[in-house]
């Protein structure tokens, strides 16, 4: 299908129309932060942003989620799963790196053997409309990890900002269907040329920052190297990098007692927390920063490849900019590559 044109000034109106049929999530400004949240009106969407502080993963995989509530274990009927038939979700205006993160989450939560009904319930009819990055930040390293500022993976439609208009590229049938709901003119050659120029410039502006080729093999070799202790020394074992990461999906399952029953919740957890792996016996296989930080890197750049055929990093740069002690994953990976 041909690329279409949407005028920027029509975006709010377009979203208002889509709101009739979809639960729409878009970047919005809350205080000084841009977050990806449910909107009630098209004018709330704030598309002139670099990236949201939190990744959109929480829309599909919320930080706290009730798996079920129960009054007893006497009968399966006393266990209630709060899954309702939701209106289809529309994720509008997320960045291509975050859209790409969904391809990994899909593999994690939609495995042959265990289907995550909670994730899939929301994901099933979801449409993803991403906006390519005309002005990537210096901390973006998507191109180093196989993506790019206009990477289509995970998106159904991909917008390109060419000034007054967005050019809409159709990536999937789902995207084509969404676009059918509204008349839009085809993008002419002049505008397509502008888009290609924007893409070229954006791609060129992102410098290669880490070397992925051979990294996995290197990591698998250096597991026991003392370098991990040096690299992780300043880590304070907080959960910033993992909670803000679009692909980190580790979780905990906890119960909370309610009146005469309980609620089982799934909550985000972080491999950086000392208690994450602490066994009841008191043994902890990852007792210090060193093991925990290594786990994070190994998981993303080695184990994920073994399990899901892709690395667990999309190069969004959130962990780079938000780490309280400036522990920079790019520097860490480069140090390891150079070993």
């Amino acid at each position: 299908m041909k690329a279409k044109i949407i005028r920027k000034q029509d975006i709010a109106d377009l979203l208002d129309n889509l709101l009739r049929k979809y639960e729409v999530f878009a970047p919005v400004k809350r205080d000084d932060l841009v977050v990806c949240d449910r909107i009630g009106s098209g004018s709330e969407a704030f598309l002139d942003y670099t990236n949201s502080i939190k990744p959109p993963k929480e829309i599909l995989f919320p930080q706290s989620e009730t798996l079920f509530t129960y009054s007893s274990f006497d009968d399966a009927a006393n266990i209630k799963v709060p899954l309702s038939k939701e209106r289809p979700y529309l994720l509008f205006g997320i960045r291509p790196c975050d859209a790409r993160s969904l391809t990994l989450l899909d593999k994690v939560f939609n495995e042959e053997k265990y289907k995550d009904v909670y994730y899939l319930n929301r994901r099933a009819n979801m449409v993803v409309v991403a906006i390519g990055c005309v002005k990537p930040r210096a901390t973006c390293f998507c191109t180093s990890v196989g993506g790019g500022p206009f990477s289509p993976e995970g998106s159904d439609l991909l917008l390109a900002d060419i000034g007054d208009d967005y050019i809409v590229q159709v990536i999937t049938d789902k995207g084509a269907k969404l676009l059918e709901e509204r008349e839009a003119e085809d993008a002419g050659e002049d505008k397509l040329a502008l888009m290609r120029k924007a893409i070229r410039e954006a791609e060129a502006s992102i410098l290669p920052q880490i070397t992925i080729d051979g990294l996995k093999e290197k990591l698998d070799r250096v597991f026991d190297d003392p370098i991990w202790g040096v690299l992780s020394e300043k880590c304070i074992s907080c959960g910033v990098c993992t909670y803000l990461c679009p692909t980190c999906y580790c979780f905990d399952i906890v119960d909370e007692a309610r009146d005469s029953g309980g609620e089982r919740l799934r909550i985000w957890d972080s491999c950086q927390f000392p208690l994450f792996t602490l066994q009841a016996s008191g043994v902890n296989p990852r007792p210090t920063n060193k093991e925990r930080y290594r786990q994070r890197i190994m998981h993303k750049f080695s184990y994920c490849i073994d399990d899901y055929g892709q690395i667990g990093c999309v190069g969004c740069g959130r962990c780079v900019t938000e780490c309280p002690v400036n522990l920079d994953i790019r520097q860490v990976l480069t140090t390891i590559s150079n070993k």
């Binding site: 942003y49 959960g239 905990d252 927390f273 208690l275 780079v320 900019t321 309280p324 920079d328 520097q331």
Partner: protein, 317 residues
């Protein structure tokens, strides 16, 4: 700044050479503009990495707890106050640390600078005597750095190290500031407004515990939020649990918090954590005449009492 950096390096080299310490904890250039980052120096030849600048905002005292070896630490006013508390609480011994004290002019708040530039990305920073030269794609901005200090630095009344072994640079004049003015102002609001504010702030919290982990005085082996037996509070982002987490953390820090602001700087979502900590610091000062981290001799306010402590708050029918 270059001068101070050189003096720090010189001291570090000497200490390592004479084997007075095994480790020097200080700052080095960060990987991003507007960032300096903690570093650990064990060999004289590495001392070159040490620097001093406007972005040395982490509280390095955080790295002292549970160390066995003898350590030298580069410490600004608030870091030293934290070290004093840690010594009093027997987490570090005075003999174990060599304090390389630095009178501090305040640290620059990178988020304020970023806000000032309205999203334009800074790619390079130069530090002049009182200026910051910010360069990005097609722009250069020069700002007075002392107009962009962290709120905690603006309210700071102990910029000079209260104790030290080596002093780098000259003592600076302490600011006469009504540092709790904003707390008093907040108290004039109605309970509804205050509750709304606190709830809004807490709703931003993602329970990543960066505030706790970056705090030099939050050194408990197992924090109450992590306890499961009993489980004090829920682990979800339920607003009641989150507010109680912050209230309890603030209470645990009452009379111990040195108001360095590390918690707030670490918070990725900008929760106004100091609103609670500073209320307690202000109460502790007013009710019990104590300020954390000022003296090695004064007993912690919640480890002691006076028979005539104020009790006007008690119900007395």
């Amino acid at each position: 700044m270059t001068d101070l950096s050189n003096q720090i390096r010189e001291s570090a080299r000497k200490l390592l050479q004479q084997r007075e310490v095994e480790l020097v904890i200080g700052f080095e250039q960060g990987t991003l503009p507007l960032r300096n980052t903690p570093c650990f120096i064990r060999g004289q030849e590495e001392a070159e990495r040490l620097i001093w600048g406007s972005f040395c905002d982490n509280n390095l005292a955080n790295y002292l707890v549970k160390r066995q070896e003898k350590v030298a630490i580069v410490a600004k006013g608030c870091d030293v106050r934290a070290i004093v508390e840690l010594i009093k609480e027997k987490q570090v011994t005075r003999e174990q640390v060599i304090i390389i004290g630095i009178p501090c002019q305040g640290m620059v708040d990178r988020r304020r600078i970023e806000a000032e530039l309205e999203g334009k990305e800074i790619l390079e920073v130069g530090e002049g005597d009182d200026k910051l030269i910010l360069k990005g794609d097609g722009f250069t901005r020069v700002l007075n750095w002392n107009e962009y200090l962290y709120p905690s630095c603006e309210a700071c009344t102990h910029r000079n190290p209260v104790i030290y072994d080596i002093l780098i640079g000259d003592m600076v004049e302490e600011k006469a500031t009504d540092r709790y003015a904003d707390i008093a102002e907040f108290e004039t609001k109605s309970p509804e407004e205050r509750w709304q504010y606190i709830s809004d702030e807490a709703s931003k919290c993602i329970r990543c515990y960066a505030c706790r982990n970056t705090c030099p005085l939050c050194y408990c082996q197992e924090c109450f939020v992590d306890d499961t037996h009993p489980q004090w509070i829920g682990k979800t982002t339920n607003i009641s649990d989150t507010i109680i987490f912050h209230i309890m953390r603030a209470l645990h820090l009452a009379g111990r918090c040195v108001e360095c602001g590390a918690c707030e700087r670490a918070c990725p979502t900008g929760v106004d954590i100091r609103k609670l900590n500073r209320k307690l610091a202000s109460d502790v000062k007013e009710l019990f005449h104590y300020e954390a981290g000022i003296s090695l001799d004064q007993v912690a306010p919640l480890a002691t009492f006076r028979p005539d402590d104020p009790e006007g708050f008690m119900l007395n029918p």
